[in-house]
Structures are given as structure tokens and as C-alpha cells.
């Protein structure tokens, strides 16, 4: 999970990113911590808002 790195690089707080994509701050937090796996739609929204590709934010476990 590289969401946290890209978010901080963009200078956004969890709350700001959450508001931008229409979810709660806690959802962003659980995604960053790998507790919750987002849907494709939400992953695309996150990627678009951070101006990166989805694969820049998420990766298969073990680098498969």
C-alpha cells in the first residue's frame, strides 16, 4: 500500500482526501493500514485525485 506516501506527498490530510473522494476519514485510514480493501471505483477515485495510477497506490501482497 503506497496510498499514505502519495497522500502525504500531495500535502493532503486523511480528512481532506476522504472529503475529496466521498468517504469517511476512518475509511482512508483503514485503507492506508491495509485493514480495508477498497472497491475498484474507490481505488480509481483515489488515484485520480492524487494524479497517479491505481497500481502506484496498491500492489498485490508479496509483489506478485
Amino acid at each position: 500500500m503506497h496510498l499514505r506516501a502519495h497522500r502525504t506527498q500531495a500535502g493532503l490530510t486523511q480528512a481532506q482526501l476522504a472529503q475529496a473522494v466521498g468517504v469517511s476519514r476512518k475509511t482512508v485510514n483503514t485503507i492506508e493500514n491495509g485493514v480495508f480493501i477498497p472497491s475498484t471505483l474507490l481505488a480509481l477515485k483515489l488515484a485520480r485525485h492524487l494524479a497517479v495510477g491505481v497500481e502506484d497506490l496498491f500492489a498485490l501482497p508479496g509483489g506478485e
Binding site: A18, Q19, G22, V23, S24, R25, K26, T27, N29, T30, V35, F36, P38, S39, L42
Partner: protein
């Protein structure tokens, strides 16, 4: 505690329903008063209906917070709560059925105890999910 008013009221509602239901069931069992009919229905239903009205009012008062309050993680937890409720009722039903067959549980009381589990189990799941940060 979450700053989202809808999520906050939902959490308080779920905790209230679980607390009242659990207290009522424990009181019923401890006092061995048996099925008390409409008294329990009025108390538990009153809390549940009040909670529903409060949540509805929160949705009307804070429409801008509906989307994050019902985001996909919350919906995931909500679906899981109903699944948990189903299995909780199934387990309770089988336990009470065994107790009834063994003659240690009154059939009327067994039936009476199923409804609180049905009502409280999903609420309990959602409350725990919220406290763990998995439901807004």
C-alpha cells in the same frame, strides 16, 4: 468518537439498543419473571423507534454528511452485521431448542428470547465496527 453527526447518532443508537435489550434479557433471566409480554416489547421497541427517528432526523439535518457516513466500508460493515445477526439467531435458536428438548428451558421463554437477539446482534456488530474505526 467520530465527528460525523450521522455516524455518531448511529453509534449511540446501536449502543442504546444493545444495552437496553441486554439489560432487559438479563433482568428477565435473573428475576426469573418469564416472558413479560407487552412490557418488553414496548421498552425495546420504544428505544429502537426513537433511535430510528433520531437517525432519520440526522440525515435530514446533515445531508452533506450522508455520503461519508454510508461509504463503502460502512456498507460492508452493515452487510456483515446482518450476516452476524443471522448466525447469532441461528445459534441461539439451536441452543434454546436443545434446552427446550432437555426440559431446562420453557418453550414460551425460548421464543421470547429469540427476538432480542435478532434485534440486538446486528446493532452490536455495527457498534463494535464503529468503535474499531470500521464504520465511519
Amino acid at each position: 468518537m467520530t465527528p460525523n453527526p450521522i455516524a455518531t447518532i448511529r453509534l449511540i443508537s446501536n449502543l442504546a439498543i444493545v444495552a437496553v435489550t441486554a439489560a432487559f434479557v438479563l433482568l428477565t433471566l435473573a428475576a426469573q419473571v418469564g416472558a413479560s409480554g407487552k412490557t418488553g416489547v414496548w421498552i425495546i421497541s420504544g428505544v429502537a423507534i426513537t433511535a430510528a427517528l433520531l437517525q432519520s432526523a440526522a440525515h435530514l439535518m446533515f445531508p452533506q454528511t450522508i455520503e461519508p457516513a454510508w461509504d463503502e466500508e460502512v456498507q460492508h460493515s452493515n452487510r456483515a452485521s446482518y450476516l452476524f445477526g443471522y448466525w447469532a439467531v441461528m445459534a441461539t435458536f439451536l441452543t434454546l431448542l436443545a434446552g427446550t428438548w432437555a426440559g431446562v428451558v420453557d418453550p414460551a421463554m425460548a421464543f421470547y428470547l429469540l427476538a432480542p437477539v435478532l434485534g440486538a446482534a446486528p446493532c452490536g456488530w455495527m457498534a463494535v465496527a464503529a468503535l474499531l474505526g470500521r464504520a465511519a
